[in-house]
Amino acid sequence: MADTVIYAMYDDDDVLKDGAKKLVSKGVKVTEVFSPFPIHGIDPIIGVKNTRLGIMAFLYGLTGLMLATIGMNYFMIQDWPMNIGGKPNGTYLQNFLAFVPISFEFTVLCGAHGMAITYLLRNKNLPGMPAQNPDPRTTDDKFVMELRLSENKNFSAEDLTAMVKETGIVELDQKELK
């Protein structure tokens, strides 16, 4: 998809935040901001949606809970009932208390691993994957704002560049994507 991408570099996160506010108030859509650390309050300005990772965490946890219950019911009750300390092993419910810690641990295990893997996949950030940031200096002390022409149909590339230049940038880069 042919597109023109503008990268505006700043050396201060507050300048970037003010710049983003100014651009958004003029109707410009800011696609992404790259920063070495989380910038507080930037999400609502550039319209980043709330994360849905929490919902996934709940679903992964539920999966873990179910797997643990099915597993323990099969291992400890159906297949090979074990007598541990004389505790009842006739049905799952009779020995339910002994299974609670394992259910809890497995819920946490699945929740944590599921979340970590989802996070890495969603951000295309698995070990060995190519870096997404346009400039290695955004992992050090620079901040980059990304604008795409395809998302700003009302403006030309020249308009965008002119507006960005007024916001206290230190460097400007423009790329043509094919």
Binding site: H40, G54, K87, L97, A98, V100
Partner: protein, 397 residues
């Protein structure tokens, strides 16, 4: 901004106290001739004074925790925490009256180790008398109360001083930091041993090392419920305009987390005793399982399931209505928790939540709310010179 107790709040708390007194009197009249009436009154005094004392102490602990960890977000609601902690002297008074009454009635069938007759004939109790005797009990109780009171007064005075002297604010902050850490050290020991002394010694034959943490988790959770509902109330009345959704969210998270801490400790204690199945340990749970099935397990279900299912999502923790609804339900649940800690050991299998129990609880609740609201009027609602106030005003999560 200065807080004024509204006439509505004054009337409501007065009505609560009046209803409490009426219920208590009716309850006493109805129980006339019951040989357990005295024990009933003493037990309820212990339940309510411990529950509300615990909330004041929990707030003091929470404040010390914020000081010791140099937390920033809470600065804007610091006065709310201090107002709840300000119940501590009244709570100490209530506890002392209760414990003195019990001392003068040979334990009043609440502390059987206070009864010389029982100690003489019960080898288990007499074996524990090196620790559980009146003199040492009072030495410990007075030590706890004195240290809690001294720390509370210090935090309170420094907080007011900080408001008046901007140039001393940083020094006072670091002093609070040191005192907060020192308080946590005392509290770590005292919260355990005091709950053994005041609550666990009711079932004198029984013991559990987890009991202190379990009791402490319950009081902490009740404290967080009070803090979140009080903050929501003040915000709704327009007194805390700078408190934003993130502060409410954080308080909601604390309520959620402490509910889980409490459930976790309740279950840990229960499961270990269930698994080991040693006769002298299981008696505690057998009494509760056989005679208080509904109250005991219902109380656990409410205090665990309600916050877990309803407060889990981010939106629920930011919603004033949901927070208040869940908060009020588990507040009653935690009161019931203290009730089932005490009653089965004092009155026995026949104990039930009656007019007397409800009346005394409502009376103490009215008194507690009135004291906390009055405390709020005594200082400006925002601690202006707190070094982290600016950070707190921009709190955003």
């Amino acid at each position: 901004m200065e807080f004024q107790v509204s006439n509505k709040a004054k009337m409501l708390t007065t009505v609560l106290m009046a209803v409490g007194i009426v219920f208590t009197l009716v309850g006493v009249v109805m129980a006339m001739g019951d040989h357990q009436l005295g024990t009933k009154i003493y037990s309820n005094m212990l339940v309510n004074s411990f529950f509300f004392f615990g909330i004041g102490l929990g707030a003091l602990f929470f404040l010390a925790l914020q000081y010791a960890t140099e937390t920033g977000w809470y600065a804007v609601i610091k006065r709310v925490i201090e107002a709840v902690a300000g119940f501590l002297p009244f709570g100490i008074g209530m506890m002392l009256v209760t414990l003195l009454t019990l001392s003068f009635t040979h334990g009043g069938h609440v502390y059987m180790w206070m009864d010389p007759d029982t100690v003489a004939h019960d080898s288990l109790v007499s074996g524990k008398s090196a620790y559980l005797n009146q003199a040492f009990f009072w030495i410990r109780t007075i030590a706890y109360m004195a240290i809690y009171f001294i720390f509370w007064r210090g935090f309170k005075n420094r907080s007011i001083q900080q408001d008046q002297n901007a140039d001393m604010a940083i020094d006072l902050h670091f002093k609070n930091y040191r005192k907060g850490a020192a308080f946590l050290v005392f509290f770590a020991y005292f919260s355990s041993t005091s709950s053994w002394d005041w609550i666990m010694s009711i079932d004198t034959h029984w013991f559990s090392t987890l009991f202190g943490w379990y009791t402490f988790a319950g009081t902490w959770c009740s404290t967080m419920i009070v803090l979140v509902t009080l903050t929501l109330y003040l915000k709704k009345k327009g007194y805390l305009p700078k408190v934003n959704e993130s502060h409410i969210h954080d308080l909601g998270k604390w309520t959620f987390a402490t509910s889980f801490l409490w459930s976790y400790l309740w279950f840990s204690q229960f499961m270990l005793i269930w698994y080991a199945n040693i006769p002298e340990e299981v008696t505690y749970y057998l009494t509760r399982r056989d005679n208080f099935t509904f109250l005991y397990f219902g109380m656990f279900f409410i205090n665990f399931a309600f916050p877990m299912l309803i407060l889990m999502s981010r939106d629920a923790k930011r919603h004033a209505g949901i927070l208040t609804f869940v908060g009020l339900i588990i507040f009653a649940g935690h009161w019931l928790d203290v009730w089932v800690m005490v009653m089965p050991g004092t009155i026995g299998p026949k104990a039930s939540v009656g007019l007397l129990d409800l009346g005394m609880a409502v009376l103490c609740l009215g008194f507690f709310v009135r004291v906390v609201l009055t405390n709020l009027t005594k200082a400006p609602l925002v601690a202006v010179n707190h070094p982290f106030l600016d950070e707190s005003l921009h709190h955003d999560i």
